[in-house]
Symmetry: C2
């Protein structure tokens, strides 16, 4: 089975030009098929402030109103995505930037209004596996931003972690998929204050125990849930840690079923 | 020989949501292979003003400084491109948005400084024909914004008319290419003040005469030059007129060798 690495990189790396450049060099040097999924970091908040676009929050989460979506579409789909793609091309990686609308790569539905109307936020319903296969089979590396579409002309803001795991699951049927969640920490820590508390391996049993003991922090729970969902649906392995882990040279957390 | 329609659409259409929507419906209904090339219209100036980014002009032309390039990358590559792609998907056209960096679709060099440093402006050196063929052969419609790259990590602002003619010429070897330049006028006019002065057909001889008689306006000359360059390099036909001409229902200017 052909191997595919799917790497999600988050805000902190995107924001620091030097960190981003180092990461992109590492990404370019990965042999074999690879896919990058990125968010936009704090750029959106900065530009919203500069433009006087009000930031609506509810329960600590941003509401994607129409002006914010327009901004996000420019920043995620344009500024961040195209600069990443151009850099990777400079490092001899044949990257191709995508939103979910491009080639109908990722479809979503606007999140139903229950207690909160999150605005133009999408929950993924479909990943166009044959399109991703076409790109990978032609030695192209998809670079996906955190935008999907509803197949009716509407762009939707979609969580980048979920995009990464959805693509991973969709490709898991035809490829041996490894999913990497890169962020600012070494991996899953027993205590965020103790740099020596890294948990190097987590499986279902350990996960259950960690949850029972309330060792896993709030912020880490959605990532862990995404990881196990992916593993239960055909993804081979999940790695969580600093971006340098994709070179395989630093300690991080590996998750298996 | 397979037919390909390459359509360049300019500022006025992009700016008016209703005009753009009508145009996209028409574009979606074109049978066979098709490629769209778009600029960003006056959105860039509007956002530059809103953001307080100084607009540098020289000899009536915008200088693409670093801040302007960042803005253009967001607007052309993100906002405008992704919204066009999402709309087309809604009209059952399998569109895929591209900058020149994506899959190394279009390479350029930064314009050399002679009298004026135009900043981050690119002159096209290479069109990745095999990539465009891959997309067209898979029933995908490339939607190209006015951005190229230098293959060294730098994005460059590039004239959309030139992008359209460069792609047309590159594909002219393998396809029967028709190039459409859509803009706000009916076509090439003898007098801009007289709506009955449309010149419906121009060939090399007529062009020579029109130039000698100074009938072609300044603004039209680059479009005419691009058109004849394209025709001399393997493009079958060039049409100039209002966007509705792509349906074949309104009068416009047809250019042949």
């Amino acid at each position: 089975m052909t191997k595919v690495s799917i790497i999600k990189v988050g805000g902190n790396v995107i924001e620091n030009p030097k960190d981003l450049d180092n990461f992109l060099k590492d990404f370019a040097s990965i042999t074999g098929s690879k896919i990058l999924v990125h968010g936009g970091g704090k750029k959106v908040s900065k530009w919203a402030e500069r433009l006087g676009i009000p930031v609506e929050m509810k329960d600590g989460r941003r509401i994607t109103n129409t002006e914010t979506l327009e901004l996000i579409t420019g920043i995620y789909g344009g500024q961040v995505n195209k600069n990443i793609v151009a850099s990777l091309q400079g490092y001899n990686c044949n990257a191709i930037g995508l939103s979910g609308a491009d080639a109908n790569a990722i479809q979503a539905v606007k999140r139903p209004i229950e207690n909160t109307d999150f605005g133009w936020v999408g929950d993924i319903t479909y990943v166009n596996t044959s399109f991703f296969k076409l790109l990978l089979n032609n030695a192209l590396s998809p670079i996906c931003c955190a935008l999907t579409h509803d197949a009716n002309g509407q762009i939707l803001n979609t969580n980048a972690d979920t995009i990464a795991s959805s693509i991973a699951v969709a490709l898991g049927k035809d490829f041996e998929v490894t999913l990497y969640y890169c962020f600012e920490q070494m991996g899953v820590m027993k205590s965020l204050k103790d740099q020596n508390s890294l948990i190097e391996h987590i499986d279902s049993q350990i996960y259950k125990k960690l949850k029972e003991e309330h060792i896993i922090s709030e912020g880490m729970l959605p990532k862990m849930k995404n990881s196990f969902d992916a593993l239960q649906n055909g993804v081979s392995k999940v790695h969580i840690g600093k971006p340098e882990m994709i070179k395989g040279t630093i300690k991080h957390t590996t998750i298996t079923l």
